[in-house]
């Protein structure tokens, strides 16, 4: 990462240029009045980000459970960490709050498949016809997590979250490769759901409870929610410190 001074030089857009680029200052009729309200009053001010590892920051009241039982949460926390582990690049899914993210998502419309077509009749279809099950995501998680636990207990006589990392990987691989015999759900289908929701928890805006302190974005050099790249789009690669959506409400 470049030092702070260099980062400030690389602020992708100044207020003046921003106004110039959008044409906002030209007095034309702008359809939609949001442009003005989006301009940060002081774009140079860095976003208030708590230093990682700093002594007890304000409590994160978001970190409680809306859906999972404690046992389910422990499995998800351990499994997501194996999918996206802590390494020399930075934190893993657990520290990023991916399991809280998944819990919160399952509590809402995504968990109920609320905006998807769930009307009968249900038939087993061809692979190219997509998901045809009657189960909703929260039910799939209930079953999938129970089966992960059952598989761990029968193979290792231990709970999944108590297994060594290599053993946890072996369990997840067995699901990924459909080596587990399940009747109600597809083991690989569940694994894929777990994998994709882990990545969501790692990289979604922190407002959803994962990607804690934007650390997922920092590792990936993704700048998050920026108003403009008009001044860097034709330039070579630039590292830009990330900003989250919360910034919109704090000016």
């Amino acid at each position: 990462m470049p030092d702070q001074a260099e980062q400030n030089d690389q602020q992708p857009v100044s207020r003046r240029n921003f106004l110039k680029n959008t044409g906002y200052a030209l007095g034309g009729l702008i359809v939609g009045g949001v442009v003005g309200s989006l301009v940060r009053t002081n774009p140079q001010a860095p976003a208030p980000v708590p230093a990682p590892g700093a002594a007890p920051a304000a409590q994160d009241y978001n970190q409680a459970l809306m859906y999972f039982t404690q046992e389910q949460f422990k499995i998800v926390d351990a499994a997501t960490e194996r999918i996206f582990p802590k390494d020399e690049n930075g934190p893993g899914a657990s520290e990023l709050g991916a399991a809280f993210f998944i819990d919160h998502q399952l509590a809402g419309e995504w968990g109920f498949n609320a905006r998807e077509y769930m009307q009968p009749p249900f038939y087993k279809g061809e692979k190219v016809q997509g998901y045809q099950g009657r189960l909703r995501r929260r039910e799939i998680f209930d079953i999938g997590l129970r089966e992960i636990q059952n598989y761990s207990m029968s193979k290792y006589q231990k709970k999944f979250e108590e297994l060594a990392p290599e053993e946890q990987d072996a369990v997840l691989t067995a699901f990924e490769k459909d080596e587990v015999n399940l009747t109600t759900i597809s083991p690989s289908g569940f694994f894929n759901l777990l994998r994709s929701s882990t990545l969501e928890g790692v990289y979604a805006d922190p407002l959803y409870g994962g990607n804690k302190n934007m650390a997922g974005w920092k590792m990936k050099n993704f700048p998050g929610n920026q108003m403009s790249y008009a001044n860097i789009i034709d330039k070579e690669f630039q590292k830009i410190p990330p900003v989250s959506l919360r910034e919109h409400l704090t000016h």
């Binding site: 279809g125 969501e200 790692v202 997922g216 993704f222």
Partner: protein, 571 residues
């Protein structure tokens, strides 16, 4: 009993690009237009929190609620069609502006070849070039005839671009200059020029500079924020119906926009429509809106579905090849990309605009010789700079796992070190690719869902193999350390996202026996019904469809104005 409202001049069903253009043009001429939009209102202020990949790109904030209505799909007539329960292959727009809000802004003109595809293919290659069940036909209009309407749509949007060296003749240049070029686009341009190809900046509806259009609408320039496709534009820089044509219609005082109004039937008697029947979805009330002229301007699937449910026009019968409504469904062939991994080069992959791209047409249409090839038509080849977001973009080279420690390290490393050159293949219609009403599955009103019968053919597989190889050559020349190119198209699969370029079903042409609408998009079987949209395409070209949808909408508007004065069939 439905509540019956006073008669109006024109009723418009669905207010997106088609409905918005029709409304603005007709109200300018003094016609009284009622726009029925089943979704809610939309405005630029809605996008205050738009830089949210999860909400918009993965939870489909701007898309139709599939729990209320979806489509059913089968690969062929031998298997049972099943509902598309979740989004995948394409995304259906919703609310005011429709799919015109969540698009990227690629605004092409089709090639002169497209409009006379059957004639030109026969001329150059003979009868045997067209497989027996490939139902290509001329469009009943030529490029030259449509050119003024392309020009008009481009000026409404303020398209930023430069002339396509291999495209049809233009009466005027693009209204705004090309967008800024990123280093990777410059690489593509330089390399392809050296290969004796003809690169040009992709015509973009994301404004390169502030622009005031002929209707007096001013819009701001694009900020390259990287949140475009699947998102609305918080600057109004991306042309969409809500920031261009709809306010023009409203300003006349002649356009009455009714949101939450879901049309279920077009009412008709004899060879004329008398109005429409719709539901106010906030109250459940059934309302009849009589009108002199009915404009069907919803998305492809609903244009077909409403005609079939209303028993208007002759339904297509694949067994006999007769009838027209539902015929010639086509799509886009674009699963094939060449992906290049760069060990020592990083790009601002997070930045971009929906239509920021360089492209070329050397392998599109009939710009190259097909004599020894087992397909017709081709693809626009491009490198895009959309702005790639982190949840959906985790590229890893072949051989790396999809999760775990190595995945994490590789996906972090290559996120900013990966480029892709892609081909957007044309899709030819076939006798057994069509839309009809599903016998089993219903929407939330109890009406049948539309059923899609479609698969890729040898034509598509051959085209994909050829085009991906061209992409691979370019990517190698661009200096990628590793190039991965998947040449096998496979069967059409509704699960992975491919393209929201669904076309056909209410196709245009010169012959009432083989087309549903004439070159003003006026229905052969109902003179006061015009059906606007990509549903009119007899096949889909190797381009994004919106430019042609816009041009045809302006053409149709002219037809409606003519019809409102003289009546009768315009052709």
């Amino acid at each position: 009993m439905a509540k019956k409202l006073p008669k109006v001049d024109v009723v418009v069903i669905g207010v997106g690009w088609g409905g918005g253009i029709i409304a603005s043009e007709l109200t300018k001429q003094g016609l009284h237009v009622v726009g029925l939009e089943r979704g809610k209102e939309r405005k630029t202020e809605d996008y205050y929190m738009v830089h949210d990949e999860l909400r918009y790109a993965l939870r489909y904030e701007l898309m139709q609620d599939l729990s209320k209505e979806t489509i059913t799909f089968r690969s062929n007539e031998k298997i049972r069609a099943l509902p598309m329960r979740q989004y995948g292959s394409f995304l259906l727009g919703d609310n005011l502006g429709g799919a015109g809000v969540h698009w990227n802004g690629h605004t092409f003109r089709f090639l002169p070849y497209d409009f006379q595809i059957r004639t030109k293919t026969l001329e150059r290659y003979g009868k045997n070039k067209i497989p027996a069940d490939m139902t290509i036909q001329d469009w009943g209009i030529t490029y030259d005839e449509l050119e003024p309407y392309y020009d008009k749509f481009e000026k409404t949007c303020g398209i930023s671009g430069e002339e396509n060296p291999l495209g049809g003749k233009r009466s005027d240049k693009y209204p705004t200059p090309p967008m800024k070029m990123s280093p990777q686009l410059v690489m593509f341009r330089d390399v392809t020029k050296k290969m004796n190809l003809h690169p040009y900046a992709l015509p973009s509806a994301n404004l390169s500079e502030p622009y005031t259009n002929p209707d007096g609408i001013s819009r701001a320039a694009c900020q390259y924020c990287g949140f475009c496709e699947r998102f609305g534009c918080e600057y109004g820089a991306k042309a969409d119906p809500v920031v261009t044509v709809i306010p023009v219609a409203l300003k006349t005082g002649k356009f009455e926009l009714r949101t939450h109004s879901n049309v279920r039937r077009i009412l008709h008697s004899g060879s004329k429509a008398t109005g429409v029947l719709y539901i106010d979805t906030t109250t459940g009330e059934e309302i009849e809106q009589p009108a002199d002229i009915v404009m069907l301007t919803s998305y492809v699937f609903n244009n077909v579905r409403l005609l079939l449910m209303s028993k208007l026009g002759k339904p297509y019968d694949a067994a006999s090849g007769t009838g027209v409504i539902g015929k010639n469904y086509a799509y886009q062939v674009l699963k094939g990309n060449a992906t290049g991994f760069f060990e020592n080069k990083e790009f601002n992959i997070f930045a971009g605009a929906g239509a920021l791209a360089m492209c070329l047409d050397d392998y599109n249409g009939d710009n190259f010789d097909h004599t020894d090839l087992k397909f017709i038509h081709g693809a626009n080849i491009s490198i895009s700079n959309f702005g790639l977001r982190p949840i959906q973009n985790n590229p890893v080279p072949k051989g790396k796992p999809g999760w775990g420690k190595d995945f994490k390290a590789a996906s972090l490393k290559y996120y900013n070190r990966t480029l892709s050159v892609g081909a957007q293949g044309a899709c030819m219609p076939f006798r057994h690719h069509y839309l009809d009403l599903d016998p089993t599955y219903k929407d939330s009103f109890g009406d049948p869902l539309i059923r899609l019968t479609f698969d890729f053919e040898d034509q598509d597989r051959e085209l994909a193999r050829f085009q991906v190889s061209r992409c691979e050559e370019i990517m190698k020349e661009m200096g990628a350390d590793t190039v991965v190119a998947n040449k096998e198209l496979g069967p059409y699969d509704i699960v992975p996202y491919q393209s929201t370029h669904n076309t056909g079903g209410v196709i245009m042409g010169a012959d009432p026996a083989t087309s549903a609408v004439n070159h003003y998009l006026q229905m052969w079987d109902a003179e006061n019904v015009f059906v606007v949209g990509a549903s009119a395409f007899p096949h889909n070209s190797g381009y994004n469809p919106t430019g042609t949808v816009g041009a045809l909408a302006y053409r149709a508007a002219e037809g409606v104005i003519k019809y409102s004065k003289q009546g009768g069939m315009l052709v």
